[in-house]
Symmetry: C4
């Protein structure tokens, strides 16, 4: 097994969007779900791209070895700056060790939730 | 980093469909979400394929460097011709620089939204 | 461009399921959405796999050149035999020319639709 | 055909989550949908990763040749231990023969269902 690389170090999600409203029991949110199959802890660096301004860079996170972590994008911050709601953005995730990334959005703008999910786009 | 190509120049989405109706607070729509990680602006050329007629070709768009752009397919046009609602179609996106593409549909045909999303299919 | 192969000849969808009920305005259905970027017509052969019986093989379809086709799985048939509703199945699609395949399910089991979509899994 | 490998032996799903509630007619659930195109039966070994504890390892399943199997994650167990509801987790699936894997979540936390699906992330 040691010869197979379990994941990638670079991942991309072009369609990021945190809905403004939440009418359901569940709050509208997005999650970046990471899986680290290695023993070693992963250092994560996230860049957020926007349509009409410079990217928000160097957002940091950590992921222990042999663990998953489902990070809400609304909780990401760099020096107190967060991703605004209701604004289209895109995400780059760079990890120090190979990981696997899935992105999911729960939209409860209306009382009935809507769900979408994609495996991120990896670079190899 | 400069040796890794950040994305692809050719992307495909076979399931395009703009719902005819919108009953929710949000209008039914689709978006082609592009991410350009390069400094250079990307020139985009889109072809729309149909089931029973010749493709609509040479629809142009632009995407600045280090930016994302979420383009509604209903806004695409070539000499005033747009993609009709309620008709199955497919999309080819060709970019002058490598980009990453995600496609999302918001269907508010009924008061409760439905969502779906895929990373496009790239050619390499 | 002629040196890039636009798609694949073998595609797989493990999660097929035609919901039994339709309470919304839209009937519950699934679609296999194909895109053929070549001039040549594609001959399609579909195999449907089940959980507890032999596969339904040699279901045929055709797709013109430079066209898309969104095929409802409920319309597939071999000698009058169709995919039953409410039964888990999986699909293999083999094409004579490379194509791109996306699978989408519209579930209107309840008055509010639910949507899901994936790009099929290609073999290369 | 015998020279093409129909699938992969290692598959990953980072975003696992079994909703706590079910208000719709359909119970909230997730399914790992496997397709085995080979004649040979596949021996499946599943590892479940969590955010804050050691993985649950060596969960076993079997999949006959030329069959699909849609396994509810709530039914997976190892010595009587199951995946708890309402907890983020991730899944690794290892198969003795190449298979194709799709993951789907049906969320009926609210009376209107929500759906999401992804093709798993394969290692090659």
């Amino acid at each position: 097994m040691s010869s197979i690389q379990k994941g990638h170090r670079f991942w991309y999600i072009p369609d990021g969007y945190i809905p403004r409203e939440s009418l359901g029991k569940v709050e509208s949110h997005e999650a970046i779900c990471l899986l680290n199959c290695y023993e070693e802890e992963a250092s994560i660096v996230i860049t957020v791209y926007f349509e009409d301004r410079e990217p928000l860079e160097q957002i940091e996170a950590r992921l222990e070895g042999r663990r998953t972590k489902h990070i809400r994008t609304s909780e990401l911050q760099k020096d107190g700056e967060r991703i605004p709601k209701g604004v289209p953005y895109a995400i780059e995730v760079v990890s120090s060790v190979p990981v696997i990334l899935q992105y999911t959005r729960v939209d409860s703008t209306q009382p009935a939730n809507a769900l979408m999910s994609v495996i991120g786009f990896p670079l190899s």
